[in-house]
Amino acid sequence: MLNDLRYRVRALFLRRAVEDELEEELRFHFDAEAEKHMRAGMTLEEAKRRARMAFGGHEQIKEDCREARGTSVIETTMEDVKYALRQLVANPTFSLVMVLTLALSIGANSAIFSVINGVLLKKLPYPNAERITRIFLSSADFPKFPLNPFDFLDFRARNRSFESMAAFTRGDVQLSSGSEPVHLDGFYVTSGYFRVLGLQPQLGREFDFNAEIPGNGLQVILSNRLWRTQFGADPNIVGRKITLNTQPYIVVGVMPAGTEHPGNNYHAVAYGDSVDVWRPFPFEGSSNNRGSHYMEGIGRLKAGVSVEQARAEMNAMMAQLAREHPGNDSGWTMLVVPLYSEIVGARQRMLFVLLGAVGMVLLIACANTANLLLARASARQREIAVRLAMGAPRLRVVRQLLTESLILSLTGGVLGLLLAFGGVRALVTLLPTDFPRAHDIHVSWPVLVFTLLISLLTGILFGLAPAMQASHTDPKQGLQGSRTTTASRHQNRLRSTLVIAEVSMACVLLVGAGLMLRTFLNLVHLDPGFHEENVLTASLSLPHVQYRTDDQTAQFYDNLTNSLNALPGVESAGAGSDLPWTGYDENTGFGIEGKKAIPPDYFHARYHMATPGYFSAMEIPLLEGRFFTEADRKGARNVIIVNRALAQRYWPGENVIGKRITGEDEPKKDSDWMTIVGVVGDVKDQPNSTGAEPALWWSEFQVAQPDMSVVIRTRSDARQAADGLRAAVHKLDPALAVADVKLMNQVADASISAPRFTFVMVSLFAGLAIVLAGIGTYGVIAYTVAQRTQEFGLRVALGAQHGDLLRMVLMQSARLVVPGMIVGLALALSMGRVMQALLYGVSAADPLILASVAFVVLVVALIASYVPARRAANADPMIALRSE
């Protein structure tokens, strides 16, 4: 066995030496034989002749010896490869076009597969991640709602479905360090949060139940990143005190590198290495207080418990809670969502649409290459006929031609991989900012394997038909044909079908690109309800320790907006609880004077806070009444501003200025009521939301909110206001961090980055597809024109006009393109449903888009067939007649 292997390896790698030895061995035999005959008395000539006769075919013996060596399969393949390379180098343009189209389409597929692999296929970085689920409340008005902390405690205590359950909620902090305070993204978590994720601190431990008791909460767990950047990776950090929000916190643990935040919905922080600190969540106040919802539930299912079982149990528990706490806890059902779906679910459709698009590009490239190879195979008919006539087995010819196509596809694959390396990097920068797992997208091993597989597959796919067809060449016919060999009718039909398929797939992609373009344009040209140009924003968060009273908070924002308004170049400045299009989702129920709400929480709205300058800085228009003023502060009449959606929903057709609402269940005094003083225009949650939610604003000076977004509208470039903003903040409070300094442009841009990404990608693929389909059409038309040169010459000789011939060829091209177009548009219509969820303001069957695509395809086909058509029309009758 070992000997066998050693022998074969030597025969393969020392082929030259082995061949030389064989030659020498055979020569020795020949000489010895001749010598024998000479000893018997023959002349030298005679002896040599006899020896040669006995010897038989010298080359044949060598071939048999090679076969006996057991390396012939590899050697034949190497010969095939050499031969194929010679063929490809002999037709450089042909080879280059094919390799490039394959490289582009394989590269595009590898790039998209890198995304799919990183985002959808790669396992989440938690042990047994398939058992981790997110837990939400759900009702008709709020399909996915956070939990109440005390409800959570009951769930945790009573459930049997979960191995462990935890809740978490956003809680950013300020780290006092060195010169400037640093804003940290943080979360409050219940005990056992990391156990649910299956993670353990690399230093120290996670919070125990004691940490949940109010007053025990000055503990913190650091992220590995924060530990390294801010604390020099101090190995003795556990037990040390650090200053957060000007209070001393004890470090109890450091999480290992690669600890990924599972993502959350309420005050969202994206999935990934995006969290700096975790603090214990203190369960403060009365456990009967079940009205506010801000905890994100997460749980690890017991082995063998299904999501469905867990959901049923949660619903039963919620029903029990509704009996225990009627009012707040009634009207809810429970959602139990696997973490994986929660993280990538929303993007799955988009990725599959892209994969479909890029797959189609690859199929088009295959059809194209098959077509070119078919054309060439008929040109090579004579060569193949010669090989068959010389006794080459048909299988050997098929193998030879397949080797050629595999070389093409593998070369395309290697180049494609290089393209993918660059493409993936570009693609990741293009991805929407909130795209899950973007940092997991690399050209990794699975991508390499995928590329190799699709390269082989395409090579076989586009190589098989031409190879089979060529091997059916009849050697007699192939050799006899004095004229340029003509393709069989069968072959022409195959080639036409391929072009029709190419055109139809290109149509589908073009329709997709058109739909995404319309969606994108609709979103860009949408009237957002505010004006994002020349606006600078930043977020501030006043630590509770220093700003204990509402007056202190209100005073801070009053002072700040005043000094910002005084800055040169500033048109107006204000602060609001949130910025438009950032996923803000704070809701409140309320009572309306003189109306009875059925069911109890029927009157509800998004609630916000704003200072007087907020609306004018954002240019949200005032429709009725007035904006807030400096006078709307504590002690004065409680006022609110509502949006048009709220006014129309609860007071349809009425004037709402002066109407009163209340947050109290049983309002008694005048101060329990809030009076509507203004109505502003609608701003939707997201640019592609169907409509605006009812919303109301409280005056920041009456309902002080410590975490605010500052909004500064300037006359020219808003970036210049950034330094003034920092200076103004630090003049008021040197220890306050100014975070997320951004242009409102960027915020608005980020909110439409997903449709933009889809649009850019689909358009790229559609562009590639139509170019390939154009090349395919050109190939077929040019080939048939070349075949019919003599016919055309004859026609000219018989009096055909230039225009007649032109029309003839163009008609031939139309016979391919029009059916392809019809099939393609029909396909696009039937696939519209897949796209609909990604579209905005355009129907999947938009007639304008379908018509434009038809037009584009016809124009491309016209261009592709015009060149060969002109050649046909200019056919020289003399050439045709002479060659006959």
């Binding site: 055979l26 035999h29 010895a32 006996a68």
Partner: protein
């Protein structure tokens, strides 16, 4: 490894009065010829012809592929040496597993010929 008749390819090349070797016997003949000591290819074919009183002849077209195959199987090994007339030649010699193989094949051959003999006599 596919087995096939190594001689069948060159049918009709046989000189008159000589018998075509039955399938599988070529290896046996080569191994047996190499038993006394190392030989080069030409000597092997000469020896078989002599010893069989010119009845058996091995065509070169079969001999060398067979030698290479036996070498690959590890039954013989090759080394370069000098021939009687002082030329460089490739000598083959039996390996230990080659000797075992020879015993095995000889025994099989004996059994086979004996059995065939019995059938021919008895029928």
């Amino acid at each position: 490894m596919k087995s096939r008749t190594l001689l069948s390819k060159r049918k009709g090349n046989n000189l008159t009065g000589r018998i075509e070797l039955p399938q599988g016997t070529l290896d046996l003949l080569i191994l047996r010829t190499l038993l006394p000591g190392a030989q080069h290819g030409w000597a092997v074919s000469e020896r078989v012809q002599q010893v069989s009183s010119e009845v058996l002849s091995i065509q070169q077209g079969s001999l060398y592929p067979a030698l290479h195959r036996l070498e690959r199987r590890g039954w013989i090994k090759a080394k370069w040496g000098t021939s009687e007339n002082n030329r460089k030649a490739k000598f083959y010699e039996l390996t230990r597993s080659g000797k075992r193989q020879l015993e095995l094949e000889t025994e099989t051959w004996r059994k086979l010929t004996l059995a065939v003999e019995q059938v021919l006599e008895g029928a």
